[in-house]
């Protein structure tokens, strides 16, 4: 049985985090951390301008744009992986 001990005698019971918010946080935050590390490692090797040359040479990117897009692409990937894991570990529907 899961219970949350009342933290303080005088505390008010303003709800703060619902189970879905906890789930969202548990998906978003670790994937954010890993995406940050992955972005650092990736762009330490790869210059976004080189990447621009071999992908969409007709579009002109700035490096800042490249880093930003790269970070959010990686974060979306890691978040999808986390979300799938959460989905698989979550409650299964009855057979």
């Amino acid at each position: 049985m899961s219970y949350h001990p009342e933290p303080h005698a005088e505390s008010q019971s303003a709800p703060d985090l619902s189970p879905s918010a906890i789930r969202l946080g548990a998906i978003a935050w670790p994937s954010f951390l890993i995406a940050s590390v992955a972005t650092v490692v990736f762009f330490a090797f790869v210059d976004p301008l080189d990447l621009n040359q071999i992908s969409f040479p007709r579009l002109v990117f700035s490096r800042e744009f490249g880093y930003t897009i790269g970070f959010f692409l990686i974060w979306s990937m890691t978040a999808v992986a986390s979300w799938l894991t959460a989905l698989l570990l979550g409650p299964q529907s009855p057979p």
Binding site: M1, S2, Y3, H4, P5, E6, P7, H8, A9, E10, S11, Q12, S13, A14, P15, D16, L17, S18, P19, I22, G25, A26, A28, W29, P30, L33, V37, V40, V41, F43, A44, F45, D47, S62, R63, E64, F65, Y67, T68
Partner: protein, 459 residues
Amino acid sequence: MKEIPIALNAAGSMYVSAAKIYPRDVAGRFQRLRTFAAWVLLGLFYLMPWLNLGGQQALLFDLPARQFHVLGLHFWPQDFIFLAGLLVIAALSLFFFTALGGRLWCGYACPQTVWTEVFIALERFAEGDRGQRIKLDQAPFSLNKLRRKGLKQLLWIILAAWTGLTFVGFFSPIRDLGMRLLEFNLGGWESFWICFYGFATYGNAGYMREQVCKYMCPYARFQSAMFDQDTLVISYDAQRGETRGPGKKREALGDCIDCTMCVQVCPTGIDIRNGLQYECIACGACIDACDAVMDKVKLPRGLIRYSTEHQMSGKATRIVRPRLLVYAALLAMLIGAMAFGLLERKPLQVDVLRDRNALYRELSGGEIENSYTLKIMNKAEQARRFAVSLKAPAGMHLVGAPNEIALAARSLLAYPVTVHASPQNLAQQSQIQFVVRALDQPSLERTEESRFFAPEARR
């Protein structure tokens, strides 16, 4: 013993929403230590980007220029090994300190807890102490409430925006950034990242607080793997404290007077008397609170204290133990290797790239040609001239390389060269070496290997 209510809500669901936690203020040596650590870390964070060294920002990870300046040292993406080493050192330090003293990281150094402390301090300034805050939240809307809440929001937003600006200032020269901010002339991505990091700070330190530690932080969950029974953790001395109870007559009771101060000061809302729990961020607030109470009731301090599991169960404990020594040895080795690498770092780097389009070309005179690009990087603070030469089997020679190549200070040059070989006795594949030597300092040279390809020998 006080009953801890186990609540079921009306719908019979197992879930009870966690109550908002109003940690009571507490003073004591651990709080002083934490405040000190927070001042040092925040001072470093907010002031560091403004520090100049030799006319240049002392700590700047210049992403737009892809150069990294760390206290007079300059790094390029090619120096990635140092970044990797630094990450490994950081991870090992975390293991070491966790094995030694539990969650020291959480209690003293984690940005989440440090900024939460600052945001709580601002909240206290605007809304008053714990009791006043609770009252204010319960009070109906009034001008006073609006004024206090408004002041808090204003302070929070200013701090968050400043934090975002500082954060971006580590990656883009901050003086320039500040000037352009005053002129309302910030680049789109800079503005975006200032807002992003500012908003993350505001949300995480202002509202999420200990929820991040409890529900989102992976370290909180796997730190137990680094613990053992000799790790110093914050513990309640149950043998001394139980049976707990209030009152003056203490013959049948332990030393715990059940004042619940340790629970009231806890920022994560746990009762340390139930044993170590994963929510505990090792802030030491319960130790300070309990020590103050023990002083008041004239009992010895240390009912809640840093102790090890072995000590608490009456066994011998060894703080210096193989596990710790192994971590320390690994750390020392890595730091030594990093220092050595930094000292031995040559101010010249050469990479050889083969022409990707053709393995070889047959020239009209029968000679075989291979093309390469030399990426020569002058990492020094002064301009230099370099000479390129070739070490290869007989019959091969470098074509068209000038006697010297000039490179500005801290610059990279992609330099195309070709090698010709006479077809006699030419192997299908030969090892060749390019040597790049500084003209003003002959000891500064780099030798890089590559391969020379030729067609299958014709008989």
